[in-house]
Amino acid sequence: MNRSTPYLFIAPAALVMALALFYPIGYMMWGSFRDWDPTQNISETEFVGFANYVRLWGDAFFWESFSVTLIFAFTVVVVEMVIGVGLALLLDRNIRGMSVLRTLFILPMMIAPVVVGLVWRFMFHQTYGTFNRFLNWIGDTWWGNLLGIGPVDWLGQNPLLSVIFADIWQWTPFIFILSLAALQSLPRSALEAARIDGATGWQQVWFIKLPLMAPVLVVTMLLRLIDAFKVLEVILVMTGGGPGLSTEILALRIARTAREFRELGEAAAMSNYLLMLLMLLTLGMFAFNRWTEARSRKLKFAAEEEG
């Protein structure tokens, strides 16, 4: 084997990534220090130091969309983890229909976010949306009337909740499928031993299954969290970031700052903030992952000894 062979194998991928990923990121960092608008070539723009970053620091709109992003991402991930892992624990058995469920559960993830947004916007529509029609129907029954059930202004009054619903629909299956795979690859001996020792269902879940699944769950959560910060199209189509700024996540704000306000420097600085946040999350999660892996190895060992 020639010494240059590995580099020949790497070269095409490295070249494309350098051109369309690393170079642009560097370019963005450079641009974030400049007063830059889309009609100019960047080398003709004025160097302004940290002005863009400082301006954002005092920009209430930026902080608003920053907090919307955090609320959206964390709510979505927590709810999806609870439902997804819960369902996996519940349905980890030989039941007819499971394979159908697993197949169809992928559907929401595969369909274009743009289309998902389209359908959910329709379903949440004030007058002819699916949900309000259903609520109307219940409101017409005597007990629904008694409870005061009626149509809700989803996208107008509860926009963040609505987009969170759509995301939960789309991505809970992801967590379900990954945790189911994790569950099914657990060492049989540990579960068997626990059962023989008389552990109840809850005890098995709490002391054996969840600790052993932990490494996979953390990675799943990390992947999901990173993806939750990438969400854009669903929200764009459903609410367009509105009403007001109520659903304007950072990704949308970046796009708007660049396109509508034509402040490329500021948008670049904002992108950098988002990137730093994600970097922090990734590093934190990796550290945590390493820690749980060491811990679960100990647990697995203990469980095997006991058995």
Binding site: P6, F9, I10, P12, A13, V16, M17, L19, A20, L21, Y23, P24, I25, Y27, M28, P38, Q40, I42, L91, N94, I95, G97, R102, L104, I106, L107, M110, I111, A112, P113, V114, V115, L118, V119, F122, M123, Y128, R133, I177, L178, A181, V216, V219, L223, I226, L232, E233, G240, A251, I254, A255, A258, R259, L264, A267, L274, L275, L278, L281, T282
Partner: protein, 311 residues
Amino acid sequence: MADTNYDRQNPAFYVLIAILILMSVGPVIILLANSMRLDVDITSGVGGLIFMPTIRNYETALCDILWYEPEHLRFCQIRFGGAFINSIIIALISTALTLIFGCMAAYALVRFKFMGRDTVSLSTLAVRMIPPAVLLVPVFGLWNNAFCLDNDYGLGAWIRDTFGGRGDVCLAGTHSGIIIVYVAMNLPFVIWILQSFIVQVPKSLEEAARVDGAGPFQVFFLVVLPLIKPGLAAASIFTFRIAWNEYLLASALADRDTMTVPILIVNNASEFDGLGTIFATGMLLAIPPILFTLFASRQIITGMTAGAVKG
């Protein structure tokens, strides 16, 4: 299967599964139903799921590539058909390129020890977290300005010569401009997934081939590639899906002639008079992913778990 007895279930589980299936498919059925209804029926909602289906919305959507002229149309206003062709070209080419480059890189990272290997594999992992929105500004700037200059930027000139922009103009507004972004964006994920498949290929097979006189590229293409077909299938589905569905970067780079379907959907989604047509387009965009789901769900699940478990 000693567990079969243990797993005899009470009917509540079947009900739960049925509800979950309904919940995941429901919105897709609504999409399909609405795409075959007239606008009046969508907004009035008469009849629920029982109605006379019509293909009129699809005719409107595809009017510019149909071989006949639909009766209900006076002129072909929206050019969805052209966008479909763009979407297909961009998704297919970028998937093919991503897979070829990706499996070569993954192979090198798994099998060869070389200088800078750790740097490459770490940076591949790190860039997976980059959101498309972060790429929006620099890619827009580069594709429109920097990569256009004739010889000032050597890199830009090279790209233009290789992929062929339109004369003096830039990467922006060409198919290649969008394709190269998608390839770069998908490579980290594909490399990550394929690594976990290549690790499983027994080394002895490769060594045997090498003893028989095969060079490294022959070993790779003739021995390794056929063995990681499931991984390639999973990776290609994921790559295709992202390239097919992506909106943001395409909308920044495409012009009138290179527009993809998601862009058209977003641009027209706010006009409520063409509701049925929009749903029909959405359905057309959703068909390939739906087919993948129905016929390759096993590969998709394998790919998803391989991508996560190998953390």
